[in-house]
């Protein structure tokens, strides 16, 4: 059942994608086929779990889609509503393990609605028969014979019947529905379409089909004038002219080469790779020790070379596993359009969700953890952001609110933005509310600029809803959203223009990457500094350090840089080693170079950084932790936050 839920969501998303493509371009055959296949597979799975209501609804949808495919006019709204309902049922299955009690009634109503839209006079697979391109230029009687599925059991042999057609000049045999390679092939269910042209008179041809007359259509072919042929040819020639190489991947040959793996096993693999990185870090120290032994230089060098190779391999392994864990955001995003429609409906508002960047791939942990925070932000946008239609009209906006959910990659981060064109957040209101709720003192409030005031919505215990609604005001606030982002090693921020809208921006790591760190000692403690911030390291003789007011500075080549003791910043204590030279790490902090005095450089290493959890998550100046080869925990510092 768990598998069905996962697949069900994917299939619903796939069908939804197909439908939206069809809405944009009604004749899109690939979209139609994808949609059809998704619905069909889903319908097949419902049979396994005794989900009759869902099966019947999907069946009706399939029929409707067939009619549209065969040329019947009709809009896709009923099908979209159908998909939404299926998705809601999947929610219910996930939560309660069964369909809601009203499923049968709702299913019937929807199925009826879907069927009603189908024009009654449209005979299935009827008038929509287009004569295949290969038959262009032929004269005589054309026929299309679609044998019944069970015809083999009835003793019919459609090929034998076709071979008996008098004066047969052209034949085309195809599969009615492409065979889905994920299903067992059933050789005894007829799935053929036979199309043929005979030079014989129609009556003569018809005679051969009298036993299967209900399954055949005839058409008289007249040699078309040259002009007509050209008019017909372009759309019909295309399918026949494609080279095999182009088509093969779309057909059965391109069966999905993917494997579903239990996420827990993947996590275990990732943890093992992390540990391998840590274990191999111990080799560097050993190599150094061996080198220091009398006569051990050559062995130490050899060991070091091996270690370098192991280093590369472990790094590769770690990166590869990181990539395995990358999954596209699309399946997560695909659920939101329906939820937005549902929520907007319950608020009597109109809103459309635009989704961009579903193809962006991020670590699975990030995707998993994002669902609730994103939903919360979307709810907020609908509840507090988008105004009701009347107010929007007065404000000169279109009645339908626009919400945009966009993801993009920015360096090693993914940026996910939820933007609405609603009323925006009024900093004055926020300040007042925060005061009322005792979140800050009046003088603090006065000092806050607008941006900082808006940021208060992330404060624990803050909820802007004047009246608690069923949606957003459930005691879970934006503070939960912020802590979720922090838990993923990311950040969330909000910007807003009153009257024009609000944007909530998440910045999250794309993957749990290896970070090169420099390990330094301050007194008895060791700390990690991210190497990408470090410009260089230096030793300072005391005479190069000059006191400037309360601080100190030193000259490095042609610049004077501020000098701070790392021990002071982290509160490690310990007196500065006087008299001897100071070791300094020169790092770039917010575009400016700063010297950090440390007691010793200990090591350089690659570390898998783990974001801070629990109480430490809020600790400023900490980027994360990593395990050392000896099992100790190393804290990795965020220099920019430390000197803030």
């Amino acid at each position: 059942m768990a598998q069905f839920l996962v697949e069900g969501r994917e299939l619903v998303a796939e069908a939804a994608r197909g439908l939206s493509a069809l809405a944009l371009q009604p004749g899109d055959a690939a979209a139609m086929e994808a949609c059809f296949r998704a619905l069909h597979t889903l319908k097949g799975s419902t049979g396994l779990f005794d989900l009759e209501a869902m099966g019947r609804l999907l069946h009706a949808a399939e029929d409707r889609l067939t009619a549209i495919r065969d040329g019947a006019a009709g809009d896709l709204d009923a099908l979209v509503a159908m998909l939404d309902q299926v998705d809601r049922w999947l929610d219910s299955l996930e939560r309660h393990g069964r369909l809601p009690a009203d499923a049968t009634a709702i299913g019937q109503a929807l199925a009826g609605h879907i069927r009603e839209e189908a024009p009654t006079e449209a005979p299935p697979a009827g008038a929509a028969w287009t004569i295949p391109a290969e038959f262009a230029g032929l004269a005589g009687t054309a026929l299309r014979y679609v044998p019944r599925e069970d015809c083999f059991y009835l003793g019919d042999d459609p090929i034998a019947i076709a071979s008996a057609i008098p004066r047969l000049t052209a034949l085309r045999v195809s599969l009615r529905a492409p065979w889905d390679p994920s299903e067992p092939y059933d050789p005894f269910t007829c799935n053929l379409v036979v199309e043929a042209v005979s030079a014989a008179p129609r009556a003569e041809v018809e005679a051969g089909f009298r036993l299967v007359a209900d399954q055949v259509q005839f058409a008289d072919l007249v040699v078309p004038k040259a002009v007509d042929r050209e008019a017909v040819a372009p759309e019909e020639v295309a399918p026949g002219d494609v080279t095999p190489g182009e088509v093969a991947p779309e057909q059965g040959g391109g069966a999905r080469r993917s494997l579903r793996v239990d996420a827990a096993r993947l996590d275990r693999l990732a943890a093992l790779a992390d540990d391998l990185v840590i274990a191999k870090a111990g080799l560097a120290g050993l190599a150094a020790q061996v080198e220091a032994l009398p006569g051990g230089h050559a062995l130490g060098q050899a060991l070091r070379a091996r270690q370098a190779r192991l280093d590369r391999l472990a790094g590769d392994l770690h990166a590869t596993i990181g990539r395995v864990r990358l999954v596209p955001l699309a399946p997560l995003f695909a659920r939101f359009p329906r939820l937005v429609r549902d929520i907007a409906g319950s608020l009597s508002k109109i809103a459309a969700l635009e989704v961009v960047g579903g193809e962006v791939e991020v670590d699975k942990a990030v995707v998993d953890a994002l669902a609730d925070p994103l939903l919360h932000v979307l709810r907020n946008a609908l509840d507090h952001g988008i105004e009701d239609p009347a107010r929007r009209r007065r404000a000169g906006k279109p009645e339908a609110g626009q919400i945009r959910l966009a993801a993009r990659v920015d360096g090693d981060q993914v940026v996910i933005e939820v933007t609405d064109d609603g009323a925006g957040i009024d900093p004055v209101t926020i300040r007042d509310l925060a005061l009322q709720r005792g979140l800050l003192a009046p003088e603090e409030a006065a000092r806050l600029d607008d941006a900082a005031a808006i940021d208060l919505i992330f404060a624990p215990g803050f909820s802007t809803a004047a009246s608690v609604t069923t949606l957003s005001g459930r005691g879970v606030g934006m503070d939960v959203v912020r802590s979720a982002a922090a838990g993923l090693g990311g950040k969330v921020a909000v910007t807003s223009t009153p009257g024009q809208g609000t944007q909530v921006q998440f910045r999250l790591p794309l993957a749990m990457a290896l970070v090169r760190i420099l390990v330094v000692a301050c007194g008895t403690e060791t700390y990690g500094l991210p190497l990408d911030a470090v410009v260089e390291t230096a030793r300072l003789t005391p005479d190069r350090v000059v006191p400037i007011r309360s601080g100190r500075a030193f000259q490095l080549r042609d610049q004077v840089l501020p000098l701070v003791r790392l021990a002071d910043l982290v509160g490690a204590g310990g007196a500065a080693a006087a008299g001897q030279g100071e070791r300094v790490v020169i790092a770039t902090v917010r575009g400016q170079q700063v010297g950090f005095a440390v007691d010793a450089f200990v090591d350089r290493m690659d570390a898998a950084l783990r974001p801070m959890g629990g109480l430490l998550a809020q600790a400023p100046g900490l980027m994360g932790t990593t395990l050392l080869a000896d099992g100790g925990v190393l804290m990795v510092l965020d220099l920019a936050e430390l000197v803030a």
């Binding site: 495919r69 090929i159 045999v173 492409p178 053929l192």
Partner: protein, 87 residues
């Protein structure tokens, strides 16, 4: 025997009937991709034709029957490259 595995080639011989579709399906779905040789084939049941269409083995050999050689085989060759009509 109408469906016969000859080393790496599947040979269809004589008139292939409905039940041969099952044997052919099994041969085509097990082991490596095997070509199907039609040179000794006299007639093909629709179920066998359908298996050739769906499972897409490579086809070799020209059957003697004019219907198979001149009409059905070209239709199979075209169809196995193209998408089904009316989609």
């Amino acid at each position: 025997m109408t469906v016969r595995l000859d080393d790496t080639v599947i040979r269809l011989e004589g008139a292939c009937h409905l039940e041969d579709a099952d044997a052919l399906t099994i041969l085509l779905q097990t082991g490596e991709a095997r070509p199907v040789d039609l040179s000794a084939c006299e007639a093909l049941h629709a179920a066998v034709v359908q298996a050739l269409l769906a499972l897409k083995p490579s086809l070799t050999g020209l059957p003697p029957s004019p219907f198979l050689r001149d009409l059905l085989l070209p239709a199979l060759a075209v169809e196995r490259q193209a998408r089904p009509s009316n989609l």
